[in-house]
């Protein structure tokens, strides 16, 4: 193993860990009630939507149809396996067309 690479990875890992740990430490300081707390309840969904919206926009018909199938299943059941499997299979098949 090249020592300069070990140093580089250690630097990247340290930055990554610092950011992750900062989040964990900040989380304890956030308010538990009031306007900001209510807004923070929406934060997980807001992050997820922000992750997914550009991904779907860059897709084509197969991805949009797959997303519709995933959304339809996920809005009716709790499990993750079924919407994931149906979405992946649908997209794989639609891309063959």
């Amino acid at each position: 193993m090249r020592p300069e690479l070990i140093l580089l990875f250690a630097g990247m890992g340290a930055i990554n860990y610092a950011v992750r740990a900062a989040g964990m430490l900040v989380g304890e300081l956030l308010p538990k009630e009031g306007r900001l707390a209510a807004a923070l309840t929406q934060l997980p969904a807001a992050i997820l939507i922000s992750l997914v919206a550009p991904l779907l926009l860059h897709g084509g018909g197969a991805e949009w149809a797959g997303a519709a199938i995933v959304a339809a299943i996920a809005s009716r059941s709790e499990g993750l396996l079924l919407p994931l499997a149906a979405g992946v299979v649908a997209v794989a098949l639609l891309r063959l067309i």
């Binding site: 193993m1 090249r2 690479l5 580089l8 990875f9 250690a10 630097g11 990247m12 890992g13 930055i15 990554n16 860990y17 950011v19 992750r20 740990a21 900062a22 989040g23 964990m24 430490l25 900040v26 989380g27 304890e28 956030l30 306007r35 209510a38 807004a39 923070l40 309840t41 929406q42 934060l43 997980p44 969904a45 807001a46 992050i47 997820l48 939507i49 922000s50 992750l51 997914v52 919206a53 550009p54 991904l55 779907l56 991805e63 797959g66 997303a67 995933v70 959304a71 996920a74 809005s75 993750l80 396996l81 919407p83 994931l84 979405g87 992946v88 299979v89 997209v91 794989a92 891309r95």
Partner: protein
């Protein structure tokens, strides 16, 4: 450390994470094959996955790989791509209410999109289940984390070994597993805390930010717009007279 490693929670987390671990494995194979092409040894590939543990950072790093190594660019890219983890760590800590700082700092090592999303969704839906069916959340997170961590490292090593034989995950639709998971989980969260305006604000601002700012800024911009809308729309609950 027991609260992080209760077997019921670990198993529940790993089980829930299993389908997504399959896609992570497919991407780990690609990462390993690309790392081999860029001249990383098998040990270096495994070490990078074990220390950095971030798909987006590692793929971008391989994209920037050159001789001599662009160290500053690699470190800056690592920082920008991992900024979203501040938001994820903060919301996770809120969900793991009561966990000690020491344990939170151990769990922090593993925070990434998939285990964060699975744990937040578990936190939101467990309230509707009987007490006996609520795995301890910190252990649930660690269960998802350990499975992801092991899968990611192992897949990179296997991908490095089989090299060019690794196919494109797109051919089997595996790339779609990630947006599908994020979408399914956000629908689950949306059913519990419905707020269409937040969704619209996040989606629209994330799309614009991704287009005009690039990088990973869209996640921060979209998340910020979403909670700004939520804060503005919040009505202080009035007590009954």
């Amino acid at each position: 450390m027991r609260a992080l490693f209760e077997s019921y929670g670990l198993r529940a987390g790993a089980r829930r994470c299993a389908p997504i671990a399959l896609s992570v494995f497919a991407y780990g194979l690609v990462f390993g094959a690309l790392a081999a092409q860029d001249g990383l040894s098998l040990g270096e590939t495994g070490l990078m996955s074990a220390i950095v543990f971030s798909g987006s950072v590692q793929f971008v790093a391989l994209g920037l790989w050159a001789t001599p190594l662009p160290v500053a660019a690699l470190l800056i890219a690592t920082f920008l791509l991992s900024l979203r983890l501040v938001l994820m760590g903060a919301t996770l800590r809120r969900a793991l209410a009561g966990i000690s700082t020491g344990r939170a700092l151990v769990a922090a090592w593993f925070v990434t999109d998939e285990n964060w999303a699975l744990t937040m969704s578990e936190a939101a839906q467990r309230g509707s289940r009987p007490e006996a069916q609520r795995p301890p959340l910190a252990s649930f997170f660690m269960g998802t984390s350990i499975l992801l961590y092991g899968t990611w490292i192992a897949a990179g090593i296997v991908g490095h070994l089989i090299g060019g034989a690794v196919g494109d995950p797109k051919h089997l639709g595996f790339d779609f597993a990630f947006p599908a998971m994020f979408l399914a989980l956000s629908i689950g969260l949306g059913r519990r805390h419905p707020n269409v305006l937040v969704w619209l604000a996040s989606a629209a601002s994330a799309i614009l930010a991704e287009r005009y700012l690039g990088g990973a800024w869209h996640i921060l911009v979209g998340a910020g717009a979403g909670i700004a809308v939520a804060a503005l729309g919040h009505k202080t609950p009035r007590r009954a007279p």
